[in-house]
């Protein structure tokens, strides 16, 4: 994709899906910021990449809303890292957002497939 496309994708789509991505990734276990950014990049095949500032800003925003809980963990021989996990409220939000997203995608697919067909 071209640069312009990436930026459009960033702004428009990511705004809506960013939160969903993060909440999903910490659903099964707590993760730290760097790990989250790597996972997103890896699992999307390099398509979706967060820039550092936006990622952490988003993490803080979610934490402030009470959907994530951050905790400093210190392992022997390493510097301490901040791990984020899903709160009860966050679980609820994740389920709701997931449904919404799936509905949305289905709807879009229906439109685009019909046109191209």
């Amino acid at each position: 994709m071209t640069d312009i496309d990436m930026r459009m994708l960033d702004r428009e789509l990511k705004k809506g899906s960013a939160e969903l991505l993060i909440l999903t990734l910490v659903e099964t276990r707590a993760r730290h910021g760097y790990e989250i950014s790597k996972l997103i990049e890896f699992r999307s095949g390099g398509v979706v990449r967060f820039n550092v500032a936006s990622l952490y800003a988003l993490l803080y925003r979610l934490e402030k809303r009470g959907w994530l809980k951050g905790r400093w963990v210190e392992k022997a021989g390493e510097r301490r890292r901040r791990f984020y996990r899903l709160t009860a409220e966050g679980k609820r939000v994740l389920a709701a957002q997931r449904d919404t997203w799936q509905e949305f995608v289905k709807a879009i697919n229906r439109i685009t497939r019909v046109e191209n067909a």
Partner: protein, 887 residues
């Protein structure tokens, strides 16, 4: 980040997290094959300062914020408050570090404060009298006598009438009256003074009246002034004290005044009662007490008159005798007079010791500060990433420095508060156990001035130890700081820590050398032969007080007491003497005029201490006979007058000639001649180190000037001398139960107290030295530990490449040894230059004694090596696999 108005705690955490992220990213890139510089560059492009700011600002704006007061003054207060809270949190996060730093500072500040509180009233504060700088003591030297002997009443009268420089002059002598009455008989410490005494000091009685000069004459009224202490203790503070009659030495005295509670009699601090001298102002004869040399003279200069001016005036008077003021030859003032400020006189004995101790405590304080600075530097190293990130995000360097200084100030304040507690205990211990009688003891306390001093040095220390680490940590060099992490062995800050440790070691060495020199001095001092046998010798001061004792009865009282004491079981010998060597108050010195000298040529006269003794004194003291014979029971009042003189007196006058048979005269120029019948060994008299040894011994029967009213009893015991004390007192009281017996001590105890100043200094030097060694060991351990930690990777690599574990050990030890030896070397050089300052306290050992220098260097090196071994041992245990895997 400043514009974000985020709480500093949160700010720090955000930064820490971002720093960690960048670290991970850097690792990833390097592992992927990028070069260091490329990786750095890439990261910096990924992280844009503005973006972070922008994004975080959005977050902050969205979410509800606590309102932050923005008025400037309150902002500053809020800032400071935030800094304090933040600093406190940072300190609490690392309790181990904080504890060590606080304890180190508490020890240093506490010790300094305690010493300062002792030194302040003695060295700095003026005496507690109005215009105390105008107070001087007046004395003169007599020939070759080491310590100056007392002044005479006749000289006092002449000075009073001829001088123009003094507002007032006064004389005083000790007086120890026995107070009898309804309660237990008690001996009081007192002074007989001229009426001008309190006028000179500038203090008047709080109750009642001062002395009147019209009362200060022969056969004047018996009046006393008492201290507030005595009034409360003995008279229950009764309001009718003025005008009350009390019985002293069997006579009735009227209390005419009470001194204020705050009054300090610095010349003689334990005095409770004063009365008038009431000497005969007409100075009837040269034989009487009016010309006895037993008075202390003090004076108050007129305003505007300096001590040099007064000294030259009195010297002029001394050199120009007038017919109206005839002088005997033993009080002719040929050598002029000495004037010293009263402050100097009072503190003279203890000043050298105090100044030395002050120096030692300063060293200790510096060592403590160096240790804490090192700790802070190490801590700063661990937070490098955090600081660098902040700077990259636009934090003001000044703000960061301020924050760090707040932390170190907080540390110092906590240490200082704890230090005050240490100081309080220290001061109490000092006053209670000091081997010397500290002058102005009543003023030694942790008071306002001392507290201000403690606060002052605490603040200075807080800023001082913090400024270096703060400046260093806040240097903006993002690349180096972020990327270095914990992987390099020699960071930029390491050289500073090493330098500080070397400084610590050298200072500790200087301190220990001082302690060592003092220690050797004391051992040599105690090895000195005082000239008589000191073991199993009990000494007591016995008075014949009270008016019912005339000369005849005084003699009889003492003779009977001596006889009674000789019969006490366990006593092998007993004798009386008018002065006791090493008792601390030898002041009975006289001019000695030899018959073979030209008459009235005072230059040939010698000075000597007079001993009026019972026959058998010299044997009881085991003073060896050199020539001739000792005094014996035949030397009674009616027998020819004989004396025994000391070796040094004989040698100085007669050199190799035979002294036996020559005649001499003590004191008054028309006194009787005495024949020398024996020469005995020299005895240490004023102190173990003083060289004055001239002494003249005669029997007290033959001393005709006056009967000594108070004598020392020396008792040689077969067993333990101290145990005999009660039995001996009983024996004396069986002769007369009203006579006070005081200053009971064994000779060994007196010996110990005669070296008191040095012991005092030594005890403190040892204490400080001990603490200093511990601090140095901790400091060395810390630095070497850090070296090992930071060099973990390199060591792991070396091991993996085949180095032996003991090579690693020696690698680390070598670093430690080089630090230690550098410190010891510098310390030896500094000691070489500086120990000269201790010279007044040293005895028998040179300020550069090689034995002490060598011994201390060895000791310190050994301790340091031990401190280095522990981290070195840890380095040996590094598992190369773990290290490399982590990489």
């Amino acid at each position: 980040m400043a514009g974000l108005k985020v709480a500093p705690v949160l700010e720090a955490e955000i930064i820490e997290e971002l720093a960690q992220h960048l670290d991970d990213r850097y690792q990833e890139l390097v592992r992927g094959g990028a070069s260091d510089t490329d990786a750095e560059h890439l990261i910096l492009t990924e992280l844009s300062e503005n973006e972070v700011f922008h994004e975080l600002q959005i977050v902050e704006r969205e979410t509800p914020q606590e309102p932050i007061v923005t008025k400037t003054n309150r902002k500053i207060v809020a800032d400071i408050w935030n800094d304090l809270r933040f600093g406190l949190r940072m300190l609490l996060k690392r309790p181990g570090f904080t504890a060590i730093a606080v304890i180190t500072l508490a020890l240093g500040i506490g010790a300094s404060t305690a010493i300062f509180s002792a030194v302040n009233p003695i060295l700095f504060e003026p005496l507690p009298y109005p215009n105390a700088s105008q107070l001087v003591t007046i004395s003169d030297e007599l020939g070759t006598v080491d310590s100056s002997v007392g002044m005479t009443f006749g000289t006092y009268r002449e000075f009073v009438q001829r001088n123009k420089s003094f507002e007032a002059i006064a004389v005083s002598r000790p007086w120890q009256p026995a107070l009898t009455g309804s309660a237990e008989p008690e001996r009081l410490e007192g002074q007989r003074v001229s009426a001008s005494y309190f006028q000179v000091l500038g203090v008047s009685p709080a109750l009642g009246l001062n002395f009147n000069s019209s009362d200060d004459q022969l056969n004047g009224p018996n009046v006393v002034i008492v201290s507030e202490r005595l009034w409360q203790r003995r008279f229950s503070g009764e309001s009718a004290i003025v005008g009350r009659q009390i019985t002293l030495n069997g006579s009735s005295f009227i209390v005419i005044g009470v001194m204020p509670r705050a009054f300090e009699n610095v010349i003689s601090p334990s005095v409770d009662v004063w009365t008038l001298l009431q000497y005969d102002a007409s100075l009837p004869s040269f034989d009487g007490r009016e010309w006895g040399r037993h008075l202390r003279m003090i004076g108050r200069l007129k305003p505007g008159v300096g001590i040099d001016q007064a000294r030259s005036e009195l010297n002029t008077i001394a050199r120009t005798p007038l017919p109206e003021f005839p002088r005997p030859s033993h009080a002719a003032l040929e050598s002029g007079v000495l004037l010293t400020s009263l402050q100097d006189q009072v503190t003279r004995g203890v000043k050298p010791a105090l100044i030395a101790v002050l120096g030692a405590v300063v060293l200790l304080l510096i060592i403590a500060c160096v240790n804490v600075t090192n700790l802070l530097l190490a801590r700063g190293a661990n937070r490098r990433g955090e600081f660098a990130m902040r700077i990259a995000l636009g934090a003001e360097r000044n703000r960061m420095i301020r924050q760090l200084l707040t932390e170190s100030l907080l540390l110092a304040l906590i240490g200082g508060a704890l230090g005050l507690v240490v100081a309080e205990f220290g001061v109490r211990a000092l006053v209670a156990r000091s081997p010397i009688e500290l002058p102005r003891m009543a003023d030694i306390a942790v008071d306002g001035t001392v507290f201000a001093f403690a606060l002052g040095i605490t603040t200075l220390i807080g800023l001082g130890v913090g400024v270096l680490p703060a400046l260093y940590a806040s240097r903006g060099d993002l690349n180096k700081k972020l990327m270095e992490g914990s992987r390099r062995i020699t960071g930029g800050h390491q050289w500073m820590r090493r330098t500080l440790v070397i400084a610590e070691v050298s200072l500790a060495l200087v301190l220990l050398v001082g302690a060592g020199l003092l220690f050797r001095s004391l051992s040599l001092l105690y090895a000195i032969n005082p000239g008589f046998e000191t073991s199993q010798l009990l000494t007591l001061h016995v008075q014949a007080s009270g008016t019912r004792f005339d000369d005849e009865r005084t003699h009889r009282f003492f003779a009977e007491s001596l006889e009674a004491v000789r019969h006490v079981p366990g006593v092998s010998a007993a004798a009386l003497t008018s002065q006791l060597p090493l008792s601390g108050d030898l002041d009975d010195g006289y001019g000695v005029h030899f018959e073979s000298n030209a008459p009235d040529n005072p230059a040939d006269d010698r000075g000597a201490f007079r001993y009026a003794v019972s026959p058998g004194y010299l044997e009881a003291m085991a003073i060896p006979l050199r020539r001739g014979r000792l005094l014996n029971a035949h030397d009674t009042a009616n027998a020819p007058a004989v004396v025994v003189i000391s070796e040094s007196l004989a040698r100085s006058k007669f050199q190799d000639q035979e002294p036996i048979g020559h005649r001499l005269r003590l004191g008054a120029s028309d006194g009787p001649w005495s024949t020398i019948v024996g020469v005995v060994g020299d005895v240490k008299q004023t102190s173990l180190t003083a060289t004055q040894a001239n002494a003249v011994y005669m029997t007290n029967d033959q001393w005709r000037l006056f009967a000594d009213r108070a004598l020392w009893l020396v008792v040689r015991a077969r067993g333990d001398a101290a145990e005999l004390a009660p039995a001996i007192r009983q024996a004396i009281w069986s002769v007369d139960k009203d006579q006070p017996i005081v200053r009971v001590a064994t000779m060994d105890q007196r010996l110990a107290s005669s070296a008191a100043e040095r012991r005092f200094a030594l005890i403190l030097f040892e204490a400080f030295g001990f603490v200093a060694v511990i601090l140095v060991a901790v400091g060395l351990y810390g630095v070497l530990s850090a070296i090992v930690t930071e060099g973990t990777r390199e060591i792991g690599v070396r091991l993996a490449l085949g180095a032996q574990r003991r090579d690693v050990l020696s690698l680390v030890m070598r670093q430690g040894i080089s630090l230690t030896l550098a410190g010891v070397g510098i310390g030896l050089l500094v000691s070489w230059a500086v120990t000269r300052l201790l010279i007044t306290l040293l005895y028998g050992v040179s300020a550069r004694d090689p034995l002490v220098f060598g011994g201390v260097a060895f000791l310190l090196t050994a301790v340091s090596l031990l401190a280095c071994y522990v981290p070195a041992h840890r380095a040996m245990k590094i598992d190369p696999l773990v290290v490399l895997r982590y990489e």
